[in-house]
């Protein structure tokens, strides 16, 4: 990557990152975050980690950001109204930030010049290498992870599906058929609980 391209992208990343925290409208912040993530993905690709770059673009900039957007819509978050905030809290934040910046500067001042970058082998970071590792040395971990995700989905559905006591009409067919019967509620037993606590 040429120096001017790096400079351009780095500036873009920093500006959009600033945009994330300076925007008042959460949707605008989100858009700025997408730009930051995409630029980071370009960096990954330029460094030879092609797979990670694309995963970054697809998963972070794509899937997770859509999820964010859904949450913002669900909660109906409006543009934030700036509050005065607590003075002590603000000054503490400023102090902490100043300390961090001082630390960074001190470290940057003392750090030795970076060594020449080692060119990774052409296979490094490709999907083929990743797949070979996943399906050989980490085969069991890979399979166990897929089961783990299945467990999480089953669990989330089991807890979040419609309460069985309501006659479900609009629920998904599976949930509707399992929970088609009425349900009498067990008494909360609040008093007994207080007694035994």
């Amino acid at each position: 990557m040429t120096a001017w391209l790096f400079g351009f992208l780095a500036t873009l990343a920093l500006v959009s990152a600033l945009g994330v925290i300076l925007q008042r409208n959460p949707v605008h912040s989100l858009m700025a975050l997408i730009v930051t993530l995409l630029v980071t993905a370009v960096f990954f690709i330029a460094l030879g980690a092609v797979t990670i770059g694309f995963l970054q673009a697809i998963i972070y900039a794509g899937a997770i950001m859509v999820l964010f957007l859904f949450v913002i819509w669900l909660l109906n978050i409006q543009a934030e109204e700036r509050e005065a905030g607590h003075l002590a809290l603000k000054s503490f934040g400023a102090l902490a930030a100043a300390a961090l910046v001082a630390e960074l500067l001190a470290i940057a001042g003392r750090a030795p010049a970076p060594e020449a970058a080692v060119k990774p082998s052409p296979a490094y970071g490709t999907i083929a290498t990743l797949a070979a590792a996943l399906f050989s040395h980490y085969l069991i971990a890979f399979e166990a992870t897929s089961l783990l995700l299945l467990v999480a989905i089953v669990g989330a559905v089991a807890l979040a599906r419609r309460m069985p006591r309501r006659r479900s009409t609009a629920a998904s067919p599976a949930a509707a058929s399992v929970s088609a019967t009425g349900q009498d509620v067990s008494a909360p037993e609040v008093s007994r609980r207080a007694a035994s606590a």
């Binding site: 070979a132 050989s136 980490y138 069991i140 166990a144 089991a158 399992v178 609980r193």
Partner: protein, 501 residues
């Protein structure tokens, strides 16, 4: 590793067949349950039971094989894994038997209930067979996430909601500790495989702060899962709120799974470097026993009492771990087996007395039980006596082996604390007996019919508790051969290291 070379891989599916059978069973139960109403989930339980039985059969050929590894060290094949797998399968089977009537009675969502139960068992078995830290972590998470959900399946009951929420938040927190510990260990040793990590710990890098910090965090992570003091705060609330069979499964299964990995890492692989961790464990063991037993004294709810008793028993296991060495390892494995049957039995009695909309889990509810249900009361006495450690029951033999291992290793004071704690525990266990036999009048009359599932669960627990206690020889033999087979991994790997070095 640029080229995919399947010939160089040691892919052996055979030792994983029990796990695969359990996983398939979980999916089959889930699919079969699509059209089954919650009132009618008994059939699903029988399907789950059939798969557990098949898994048990497939575990048997694994016994007695020489220790080896598969999948580039991710899976350990040894008697140790088989020992824990069999115990976990039996625990899951007793839990299913206990639930056959309980689940429809409390209208737990049948398909999800039995499926998650099997998935949790799968996680425990994976932890028992794991040979590297990633697989241990994945097994732990599979087990934990399934049980978080199981403990919240009584969704109309606020206590169950509270249990699931507390367990989930604190469990996720503790998982963070474990994962951070794994990351630090990986950072210090450049490997996730237990053998090379043990070699690094015993070698020149042994004192590296990074590695020791990683070990400390691993200790905290496992401490949460086995409910050791000071990481036990979630236990009583979660045990109380969860459906009773799930509580039984938590008290026994999670301890089995977590201890299987905990013991394999610390006692088996890091045993040679025990000086790095067993002083810490000494303190944790003493605190766990004492806190568990003292707080159990004042509980008015039987599930909370058994929760604190479970904490105390984790303390006894930790006494064995502190002692380290082959004798202690076998004793601890035996203790876990004895504890499993005894605790399953005690919780079965609690579950048998509960009816929908009416949780009978206050100790006062057991008044006059000896007159109204003499059989259940007598069974409860047997299980409580075994938990106390009265001969000739399983609990006594387990404690005897663990305490004598600790004495032989020179931990006199820890053994004295443990014995004193056992004496204290007799008070609260026997006070339940007093309530059942010597208090007049039934608190709230109930009619318990003999239901086949519950009878089978009680019978299995009773047989286990009595048989292990009366004739411990074969079980102790199995425990000691299991521990030796796990130890032989470390000898092989150190020999290889010597050859290479």
């Amino acid at each position: 590793m640029n080229h995919f070379n399947p010939g160089a891989l040691d892919i052996l599916w055979l030792p994983l067949v029990p796990l695969i059978v359990v996983a398939v069973g979980a999916v089959v139960v889930l699919l079969a349950g699509v059209r089954v109403s919650d009132d009618d989930s008994e059939g699903l339980g029988w399907i789950a039971l059939a798969f557990l039985g098949a898994a048990l059969l497939f575990t048997l050929p694994l016994i007695g094989q020489s220790s080896s590894t598969a999948f580039a060290g991710a899976i350990a094949i040894d008697n140790y894994a088989a020992y824990f797998e069999i115990t976990v399968i039996l625990t899951a089977a007793v839990t299913v038997l206990m639930s056959l009537e309980y689940a429809p009675d409390f209208r737990l969502a049948g398909a999800e209930y039995y499926s998650l139960l099997l998935f949790a068992a799968l996680g425990m078995m994976l932890m028992a067979a794991a040979g590297d830290l990633i697989v241990i972590f994945l097994g732990l998470e599979t087990m934990s996430i399934a049980v978080y959900v199981l403990s919240g399946l009584m969704r109309q009951d606020p206590r169950s909601n509270e249990a699931a929420m507390k367990y989930f938040v604190l469990g996720a927190f503790s998982t963070g500790f474990l994962l951070y510990g794994i990351a630090l260990v990986y950072g210090a040793t450049d490997t996730i495989k237990l053998g090379p990590i043990a070699a690094a710990l015993a070698g020149a890098k042994g004192g590296s702060p990074l590695l020791l910090a990683g070990l400390g965090l691993l200790l905290v992570g496992f401490g949460f899962k086995v409910a050791a003091v000071p990481f036990h705060m979630w236990t009583p609330d979660v045990y109380e709120g969860a459906p009773t069979p799930v509580t039984a499964f938590m008290a026994v299964g999670i301890k089995l799974g977590a201890f299987a990995a905990f013991l394999r890492i610390f006692l088996v692989y890091f045993g040679a470097a025990a000086t790095h961790w067993n002083q810490v464990l000494w303190v944790i063991a003493a605190l766990t026993m004492t806190t568990g037993n003292l707080v159990a004294l004042v509980q008015g709810n039987i599930k909370r009492m058994l929760a604190y008793s479970a904490i105390a028993h984790a303390g006894y296991v930790l006494v064995g771990m502190t002692a380290a060495g082959a004798q202690a390892g076998s004793a601890v494995l035996f203790y876990l087996l004895a504890y499993a049957f005894t605790n399953l039995g005690a919780f079965s009695v609690v579950a048998a007395l509960e009816r929908r909309g009416e949780r009978r889990d206050a100790i006062a509810d057991y008044r006059g039980l000896a007159l109204s249900h003499p059989g259940l009361a007598a069974l409860m006495v047997v299980f409580l006596l075994s938990l106390t450690g009265v001969p000739p029951l399983a609990g006594f033999v387990g404690k005897f082996y663990v305490f004598s291992a600790a004495l032989n290793a020179g931990y006199v004071w820890l053994t004295i604390i443990a014995v004193l704690n056992s004496v204290v525990s007799a008070y609260y266990y026997l006070s339940v007996v007093v309530v059942m036999y010597m208090t007049e009048g039934e608190a709230r009359p109930i009619a318990v019919q003999a239901q086949p599932g519950m009878v089978a669960a009680l019978a299995l627990s009773l047989i286990g508790t009595v048989m292990i206690g009366v004739y411990p020889g074969p079980y102790m033999g199995a425990a000691s051969s299991a521990f030796k087979s796990a130890l032989s991994h470390t000898q092989v790997s150190s020999r290889q290291l010597k050859l290479r070095g």
